[in-house]
């Protein structure tokens, strides 16, 4: 009983909430990195001349603050591209603290972001040509949304960073501009009570910040509306792909070896190709075609795509030399494979609540399991040599 309790506790962060981002395990300790980031990374360290985009120092009441450029170098762009593939996450962290863009005065706005290199680069690039203060929180190299879900981008850290940087002596006003997706970790009223700074949630997307400022710091309806456009979905595919590689390789090996050992390596190779096709359908095609695939449940979308792919294979005539057993197996099992991977994509989407995903899994998983099992049995029957 006790252990059960502690397990449930583990899944909650210090705010008693679990995360909206794709991480099953919440870290209850703010000082430790949340699970979305590189494993067991250290914090961003101290600010020095090596911070990305450094162009000089600005003297303030509380000491010198790095001035940073809005220009992204080839290296910055390359590291962003690598991060999309899940490479280089360990070095995607920068020192938390106060930075400046342009030559801000004491009344210029303070924008808050995370110490994830990609978030920081997006912000400084979008705000080119403006004078403002950039307060970078220690999120251990994790983006705003994931870190907010864990409480790392949270009330504690924000209040601590305001104190550590002496922000109240640097600026005259008492207003902080935060990304809307950071709200999950922040209790705005508590921040104000503890630090004197009012929190205003500006926009969801960094791209909208220039318009937000030009609009007199007013959030339009569009700026607070979540989107999930093709390019946003596409950006998520590479890392999903990289993360499933191991699983794909293990299953492929098994699918090849069993028929090969039973004396039919050709059937093994065919099974591997079919499996990979179905899996990639779920991992790559479902995200891209998400709004157009029928059904609300992701598993239904995946199954429909899988079925369409098998049907295309069957009708194309490539399947001529395949046994009837293998054909039926393909129709039964492959849609389930696509459906499983499609279901996995729920973790990347910004609109699937936990209760909904749970409900879908309770219904879909047993069905998928049975379908795959039936497919495997059919395949094996087909492999038994006949006199």
């Amino acid at each position: 009983m006790n252990t059960d309790m502690s397990k449930t506790e583990n899944k909650k962060n210090r705010n008693g909430e679990t995360s909206p981002c794709c991480c099953a395990e919440a870290e209850p300790h703010v000082e430790r990195p949340p699970c979305c980031g590189p494993p067991a990374t250290v914090g961003g360290g101290e600010i020095n001349e090596k911070v990305p985009g450094f162009i000089g120092w600005l003297s303030t009441m509380t000491g010198r603050v790095p001035r940073i450029s809005s220009e992204l170098t080839i290296n910055d762009r390359f590291s962003a591209w690598k991060l999309r593939w899940g490479i280089g996450r360990m070095s995607a962290v920068l020192p938390p603290g106060l930075y400046v863009l342009g030559k801000p005065e004491r009344q210029d706005p303070v924008v808050v972001t995370a110490n994830y290199k990609m978030s920081y680069d997006l912000v400084r690039h979008a705000l080119a040509g403006r004078n403002l203060w950039l307060l970078v929180l220690e999120t251990f190299g994790v983006n705003v949304w994931c870190a907010a879900g864990k409480g790392a981008f949270g009330t504690e850290e924000l209040v601590r960073r305001i104190e550590k940087t002496g922000l109240s002596q640097v600026v005259d006003h008492r207003l902080l501009l935060l990304p809307i997706l950071g709200a999950t970790g922040i209790e705005a009223h508590k921040v104000e009570a503890r630090s004197g700074f009012r929190v205003r949630y500006a926009t969801i997307r960094v791209d909208d910040l220039p318009e937000y400022f030009d609009n007199g710091m007013v959030t339009t309806t569009a700026m607070r509306e979540m989107t999930f456009f093709m390019r946003e979905r596409l950006a998520l595919v590479p890392v999903e792909l990289v993360m499933s590689l191991k699983k794909l390789a293990a299953v492929s090996l098994l699918l090849f070896l069993v028929p090969a050992l039973m004396g039919d390596p050709g059937a093994g190779a065919g099974a591997v190709l079919a499996y990979l096709g179905a899996a990639l359908g779920g991992i790559v095609v479902v995200p891209l075609l998400l709004p157009w695939l029928p059904g609300r449940a992701f598993s239904v979308k995946g199954a429909v795509l899988g079925l369409a792919m098998v049907a295309a294979w069957y009708l194309s005539g490539i399947s001529r030399d395949v046994t009837v057993y293998a054909k039926v197996a393909a129709f039964v099992a492959l849609p389930a494979v696509s459906a499983f991977h499609a279901l996995n994509f729920t973790g990347c989407t910004p609109f699937t609540p936990r209760s909904g995903v749970k409900k879908e899994m309770r219904i879909a998983l047993p069905v998928m399991g049975c379908a795959v099992l039936a497919g495997v049995v059919l395949l094996l029957i087909g492999l038994i040599p006949r006199q």
Binding site: A24, I180, T184, G185, A188, G356
Partner: protein, 96 residues
């Protein structure tokens, strides 16, 4: 959110209108426009759009909102279930 809808009648969002003062924070933070101003206070206008992120609950100064916020991630839930049944000791989550 335009163009995307997930399952209906699942969200755990509960709004206690007696406590609401109409400060508008929930309207400001919700990325799915679940709340809208309604006279002096606010109203839940699109419960099925809620993704249970918990932002409104966190930022409501008067405790007028309850929601079981959490991970809407199949792979994460699967690992959680396996661990609960002691079938997996892996500490891996889907975004590591």
């Amino acid at each position: 959110m335009k163009g995307f809808r997930y399952l209906e009648n699942v969200a755990t969002l509960r709004f206690t209108s007696d406590r609401c003062t109409g400060c508008g924070r929930c309207v400001e933070v919700c990325p799915h426009q679940v709340f809208e101003p309604a006279g002096e206070i606010v109203a839940v206008v699109d419960r099925d759009a809620c993704m249970e992120c918990g932002a409104c609950r966190m930022n409501c100064p008067h405790d007028a909102i309850q929601v079981d916020a959490g991970v809407g991630c199949a792979s994460g839930l699967l690992h959680e279930w396996l661990r609960e049944r002691n079938l997996s000791s892996s500490n891996r989550s889907c975004c590591s």
